[in-house]
């Protein structure tokens, strides 16, 4: 056993290694990416670890392995579960043989700019157990417990973290990984279990999944994963806390003690397994307490269940939480909600502003919109789109440019203002078709990144080709899944693929789908790219422009530069066009001329291509 400083993400995969996991799959997504990311840095024998093309595929691979009797882990962010859900619900009905754990990370407080959806809803919808660690250390052992429950019951099990745990570091005790159990892959032919062929099979499986959840509940009770501590005297306050919120409880109790709070009079139910609903513990708490305080982030899942149990138990006390209006369904919790809840429940006269600053200092801070990195190839693509529209005398606010997930969203921000929307993986291509059908008279453009196209964009593109919808798809191919931290995707150069993997070339794939007007451009060549896009916009049918140049961050990590930009101060009039058009963070305003930071500059030369005074000169452009 050793003590290691790890993140919550790492704790999950270390727990899976200790549980002898054999297959690990997933798709990158903040805040979950660090899980598989850390595994890929390890030297793992006898285990298969991969970034899959999307979450549905990832989950199906893990399920196939688990059906064949092996232990498998599948990792994703909350929106990834939306993608995997079709198979998830169906496989939940079938159950599994080897342990199958789905690790999902939610983002209360939207640190990463996505929907604040609560994955506990998926556990309810799919009738699957869900375990929620309260700390990084919990993540390690609860993942092991999840595999255990999964195999004993024959059901997939969720482990859910939130950003505050997934990305937090703490020291935990880690035991040596265990090799995958030596199990022959089993091939079990049983259409009643593995198909949905017929109403009778489906109905039977529905009964099975309900029964499995109940059995999981019994095992969870035997394991005492949820912990109920009843106070000596009945009639007092009962606190229910789940997940990370539990870790704020003792801190809150100590603070409230300064205002007359007495710890001994409080009962606590710590909910680790939020699915199945901990009915018997809640019932015991309701019978013992006069008031309940429910502490859970996002949706009032436990709270709603508690209202139902309260009705059944004839409870006539108060229930404090979200449904009485005290807490919000949005945002992260910290100790202040614990204190606020205790104050409401016990009338402790804790001043409202103990943890609430009245200052509005943040509103005075300079806006810092996220923008493309220095050398980002997407900059060239946005500039080329804007240029092409200008040449066609089309006003930018009359041309729909749909956007997609990833770094390609940066086009919505200044100085480009190119992209209009961002929905979900692959949505740009399909949304664009809707705009065309709606009767938009100007050309419709869709933009998408490489990993996003592979993930979810291809079906939309195939649909556009089949129906021959006039639109221009611009694929911004930087070779990496960049926004989430530079993961490999199917299009990543073969040199950077894991050993034995192949790369799929979009320049071959797209023409093969029947796209006749297919163009490849280098976004660092502004004029050529703009000319190509201009031409494409005027052609009929589906046109695809593949704008291809590697992510500068990745290239720079290998010591590469696209070129070199030299400033000729005598020519510079400080017109600031270079900054206004490119927004490049490597350009600053100096005393007498603009200045290019030589460390930041990747030498893409886009600034030189917009300078009208030859004050910026690009050299050695590749």
């Amino acid at each position: 056993m050793e003590t290691k400083i790890v993140t919550g993400n790492e704790a999950i995969v270390l727990g899976a290694l200790r549980a002898g996991v054999r297959v690990v799959t997933g798709y990158p997504g903040t805040p979950s990416s660090g899980a598989i990311g850390s595994l890929l840095k390890m030297d793992l024998k006898d285990r298969h670890v991969e970034w899959s093309v999307n979450e549905k595929v990832a989950f199906e691979i893990a399920s196939g392995a688990a059906w064949a009797g092996q232990r498998a882990l599948c990792a994703m962010k909350m929106s990834g579960v939306n993608v995997a859900l079709d198979s998830l619900i169906s496989i939940a009905y079938s159950g599994c043989n080897g342990g199958l754990v789905v690790y999902v990370a939610d983002d209360p407080g939207t640190n990463a700019g996505m929907c604040e959806q609560d994955s506990r809803s998926f556990a309810m919808m799919s009738d699957l157990p869900m375990l929620e660690p309260a700390s990084v250390a919990d993540g390690y052992w609860l993942t092991q417990a999840a595999f255990d429950i999964s195999e004993r019951v024959g059901t997939p099990v969720f482990v859910r973290l939130v950003t505050a745990l997934a990305n937090s570091y703490a020291a935990i005790h880690v035991e040596d990984p265990l090799p995958p159990a030596e199990r022959e892959a089993i091939l079990e032919r049983d259409i009643t279990k593995y198909t949905k062929a017929g109403a009778a099979i489906c109905t039977a499986q529905h009964h099975d999944v309900i029964a499995r959840l109940e059995k999981a509940g019994q095992i969870i009770n035997q394991m005492k994963l949820n912990e109920l501590q009843l106070s000596e005297n009945p009639g007092g306050l009962g606190v229910v806390a789940s997940g990370v919120v539990f870790s704020y409880l003792e801190e809150g109790f100590r603070i409230a003690a300064r205002f007359g709070f007495e710890r001994d009079n409080v009962s606590v139910l710590r909910v680790v397994a939020t699915s199945p609903f901990p009915a018997s513990d809640v019932h015991a708490l309701l019978c013992h307490c006069g008031t309940l305080l429910i502490l859970e982030e996002l949706e009032p899942h436990l709270e709603r269940g508690i209202y139902v149990e309260a009705q059944k138990a004839g409870f006539d006390g108060r229930i404090i939480g979200k449904l009485d209006g005290l807490f919000s369904r949005s945002g992260e919790y910290d100790v202040s909600q614990v204190v606020q809840g205790l104050n409401r429940a016990l009338d402790l006269s804790i001043p409202d502003d103990l943890f609430q600053s009245k200052l509005q200092a943040e509103s005075m801070a300079a806006q810092r919109p996220i923008t493309c990195c220095a050398g980002c190839p997407h900059r060239g693509t946005y500039m080329a789109i804007n240029q092409a529209l200008k040449r066609l005398k089309l006003e930018k606010d009359k041309v729909m440019v749909t956007g997609d997930i990833g770094c390609t969203i940066l086009g919505m921000n200044p100085p480009f203002y190119t992209v209009w929307n961002e929905v979900s993986m692959g949505a740009s291509v399909s949304l664009a078709q809707g705009y065309v059908h709606a009767g938009v008279s100007t050309p419709v453009i869709a933009t998408i990144g490489d990993s996003t196209l592979f993930h979810g964009g291809i079906p939309g593109l195939i649909n556009a080709i089949q129906h021959q919808i006039p639109l221009t798809l611009i694929i911004m191919d930087n070779g990496w899944t960049a926004m989430t931290g530079m993961q490999v995707n199917p299009g990543t150069d073969e040199a950077f693929q894991p050993t034995g993997n192949r790369s799929i070339d979009m320049a071959k794939l797209i023409p093969a789908l029947g796209v006749e007007n297919f163009f490849v451009v280098d976004p660092f060549e502004l004029d050529k790219s703009a000319t190509t896009i201009e031409k494409a916009l005027m052609l009929p049918g589906v046109k695809v422009v593949l704008s291809r140049q590697e992510c500068a961050i990745q290239a720079q990590r290998r010591g590469l530069n696209a070129g070199r930009v030299r400033v000729i101060p005598d020519n510079c009039t400080l017109c600031k066009q270079c900054i206004t058009i490119t927004g490049c963070p490597a350009i600053e305003i100096g005393e007498e001329s603009i200045v290019v930071d030589p460390v930041l500059c990747y030498g893409c030369g886009l600034c030189a291509q917009v300078c009208r005074f030859e004050a910026l000169v690009g050299e050695n452009l590749i």
């Binding site: 390690y140 394991m223 704020y248």
Partner: protein
């Protein structure tokens, strides 16, 4: 595997009454300043003294030039990663405008170390947006009831004619001037820096030492 083998590590089974002190640090800055490295070093130094530590970094989506914050909670066995508003014993702000985002979090009467670096966003550079003055920021910190400790970036000395890493300079100042030194051992920090940057250790130690000796204005 029997459940008992992994039950020993449950959060709730760690005794929570062993408590020597609690110290929460809130850090803000801009991506590229090395703010998160300060956090890394603080928790490593804490763990060398067997002080329980949680470190929660939050990076924006941009690689560089975006808002970055981090929360460090020391001395709590059972701890949630978020520091509440008005809860931080120490704020370390590495950029003047971003410092404003930490004002809500400083505990009245406690320390706010402000490194006076200015990293103007493009719109500010172009004169299209305003940028807060140092005095405005200090005023807000004082209004929060905290002590301002101002560290001038001009005090950053060159090392062999090259620039010195500002993050280690700021960490040095935090250890010498605002109570972090009472929590951590400077020798531990030096050791961590040495092992972290085998080749570039000297420059970083120099920066740390310069911060230790830097003039910090208190207001």
């Amino acid at each position: 595997m029997k459940p008992t083998t992994y039950m020993t590590q449950s959060t709730s089974r760690i005794p929570h009454d062993i408590l020597l002190f609690e110290y929460d640090v809130f850090l803000v800055g801009v991506g590229g300043q090395g703010l998160l490295t300060i956090g890394d070093i603080i928790i490593e130094a804490a763990l060398r003294k067997e002080i329980a530590a949680s470190f929660y970094p939050t990076k924006g989506m941009a690689q560089r030039g975006g808002f970055v914050k981090a929360q460090i909670r020391l001395g709590r066995q059972v701890v949630g990663p978020n520091i509440p508003e008005r809860g931080a014993d120490l704020v370390i702000a590495m950029e003047i405008s971003e410092a404003l985002k930490a004002v809500r979090f400083v505990k009245p009467g406690k320390d706010f170390l402000l490194f006076g670096h200015v990293w103007p966003p493009t719109a500010v550079m172009l004169g299209k947006a305003s940028y807060p003055s140092l005095e405005q920021v200090c005023e807000q910190v004082r209004a929060a009831g905290a002590k301002v400790h101002y560290l001038d970036p001009e005090g950053l000395p060159p090392y062999e004619d090259t620039s010195v890493p500002a993050n280690m300079f700021v960490l040095g100042a935090a250890i010498a001037h605002v109570g972090l030194g009472e929590v951590l051992d400077f020798s531990d920090v030096v050791h961590i820096v040495q092992t972290r940057w085998m080749r570039d250790a000297e420059r970083n130690i120099f920066a740390l030492q310069s911060g230790l000796e830097a003039n910090v204005e208190r207001s």
